[in-house]
Symmetry: C2
Subunit: 379 residues, 2 copies
């Protein structure tokens, strides 16, 4: 495996954009990425698209050549990768594998989702497809309910509190207020987070990530640049919650993290900042434990202590996370990497962290059936 580098990044703002289509957002992110990299479409040897369910959201399928063609990337392999909310991470993982193994010099990864053209009931239905239709969505267990069960169990098993969950929301809302490309820039207090409208007890509206439109792109290459991909790993686990032995941990994240740390020759203590998959606040707490940043059961007090704030020991989701930056499903895994690169370049403005040599992204699909862990490092 040879070294792989980040050649460039590009993102659209995340938000609800009634006038924007899936393809034009994707093309905007790709154009921004190519400009950032100083490259042209002709430099791209293969195109990797992360998209969860464009066909259901937009009635357009076969999205990889559809987007690539509009971006001027013609003729090369153009493929859509689907791994639920980890679709973007999975596209990146396969792209990285291809460059690392010498198949290509330069490839482009794009992630995109256009969600807000559908009403909330339809969006909930589409998202529920990432769970188990037989034992979950068909009996009303859509994702807020699934993660509510996970949260309730974590509270029961470890004494995690509502205040600790709310602390994740408060932090991520604050971080997003410093991110010009975030969907929601509204700072909230702990009291507001605790008093949010109930969604699925114990989760309130402030524990849930946003339904967003947006796209992100990253160009990776064998040509040296200041930021390298130190590792990327994808793993799988059970789709149905009922098939897990312990619902307070995601085996796929633990497996992907173990492989990524081994590849990178690093451990959790070497990581300076992270973007993790906070589809619900409880998912950020569990990610802290599954990634080895803290022992199982200790994430609640740790996060509530401010350890993962921008000025803390390990800043997490400085972008605002899925919670407040927004969560256009297929874009998320790619956007996480873009946001890490922005920090590593020192161009994060008001949300800039002081040390960003080693950065980790974790992108989760469903309730943990897919997890992708990527580590970037300054060289």
């Amino acid at each position: 495996m040879r070294s792989v580098y980040v050649g460039g990044i590009g993102k659209t703002a995340f938000g609800a954009f009634p006038d924007r289509g899936l393809r034009d957002m994707a093309v905007e992110s790709i154009a921004a990425c190519l400009a950032d990299a100083g490259r042209t479409p002709a430099d791209v040897e293969a195109f990797y698209l992360g998209n969860f369910d464009g066909p259901s959201f937009t009635n357009q399928n076969h999205l990889a050549p559809y987007v690539a063609g509009a971006a001027g990337i013609a003729g090369v392999p153009a493929t859509r990768f689907e791994a639920a909310c980890a679709s973007g991470g999975s596209a990146f993982f396969h792209a990285w594998q291809a460059v690392a193994s010498g198949l290509y010099e330069t490839v482009l990864v794009c992630g995109v989702e256009k969600m807000t053209s559908q009403n909330t009931a339809k969006v909930t239905d589409i998202l529920a497809g990432a769970g188990d239709a037989l034992t979950e969505s068909s009996v009303g267990a859509t994702f807020p309910g699934i993660f509510a069960m996970v949260a309730r169990r974590h509270m029961h098993q470890y004494g995690t509190t509502r205040e600790q969950l709310a602390a994740v929301a408060v932090k991520n809302h604050y971080n997003a207020s410093l991110n010009p490309q975030a969907h929601m820039k509204k700072v909230i207090s702990l009291e507001q987070a605790l008093g949010g409208k109930p969604v699925a007890d114990p989760l309130t509206i402030y524990d849930c990530s946003l339904v967003s439109d947006g796209a992100a792109a990253i160009l990776i290459t064998a040509a040296p640049s200041p930021i390298a991909v130190a590792a990327a790993a994808q793993a799988s686990g059970p789709v149905a919650l009922a098939d897990k032995t312990d619902i307070t941990t995601f085996s796929a994240t633990r497996a992907a993290a173990a492989r990524a740390y081994a590849q990178a020759g690093m451990g959790p203590k070497d990581i300076d900042l992270a973007e993790v998959h906070d589809c619900f606040t409880i998912a950020e707490l569990i990610a802290m434990e599954d990634l080895g940043f803290i022992e199982p059961g200790e994430s609640g007090p740790w996060v509530a202590s401010g350890a993962t704030a921008i000025g803390g020991a390990l800043p997490v989701n400085t972008s605002g996370g899925l919670k407040a930056k927004g969560h256009p499903i297929g874009a998320t895994g790619v956007a996480q990497l873009c946001d890490l690169v922005i920090q590593m370049r020192g161009s994060a403005g008001a949300r800039q962290v002081s040390r960003a040599n080693h950065a980790l992204a974790q992108n989760l699909g469903g309730s943990g059936a897919t997890s992708v862990v990527t580590i970037l490092k300054k060289v």
Copy 2:
């Protein structure tokens, strides 16, 4: 790039199976494949699933870990690849790349689609997603209409006749009658084919492939076996018919074929038999030309002469093709490879060809926005 070999194959029958779900068909094909290969799920280092639109057909998304888990393949990267009707071929292409480049020793590719649970109008809508929603499906140009335009232009430009299109149907129906796993085993006459119910002029019901349920799997490995993958290539082209300069040829097939022949160190004359993407009869004629078996415009008379029949110079679609074997979208590209392997092993029974040292598969997405060409060889 190191050599990659076929370790085993497995297929379900293709057909309309009201009592069978997507997952259980996929698991059956995987179990058959592992048994054929003399392997266990623990040998599989990564899982590649070709599936076009399971979410729309079955309400279940996140299908790669969903299927892998049920097949006992746990923990490893499990990813769904979507490239319209070339989803199976695309999954195989990426799997082959991964083994050829040394990332894995052994991986499993599965293709599956469950289509017949939806009514014809809904199926047509779902399939139309593989075209351009803006300029095609939204104005009534679903795939039969798109390929009717292609056929009409080929007839205009080259003098191709209705009888020549019908000859493709007659041949493939006959071949399927010899294939115990085919969806439709009904032999038809040229008169029947010509007198079929009109679908989109000049195409009749006999010019259109079937709506089917089914799954296929193939295990590929770096461990030597009698059949090697000589080449695999994927290319892309415009999604919308309106964006093509010549609709009687698919640039993606030409590009993929050129790369595959170069990789394999072969030319069209070296191929002993082929499975090609006859989603409509005209597509089989165009494939003959795009793959270089015959000059542009000459495929009609050539096929009508019997050259591509089982006893002909280049047997094509001895399985019955998408036309009569059936076309469960995501399964098709993988099933083509399984059917070639069956011939190369000499186990094709009544449809066995006399020489099967070099075999080619071509899997097309939409009206040519994706094409995957794979060449297998006996070693």
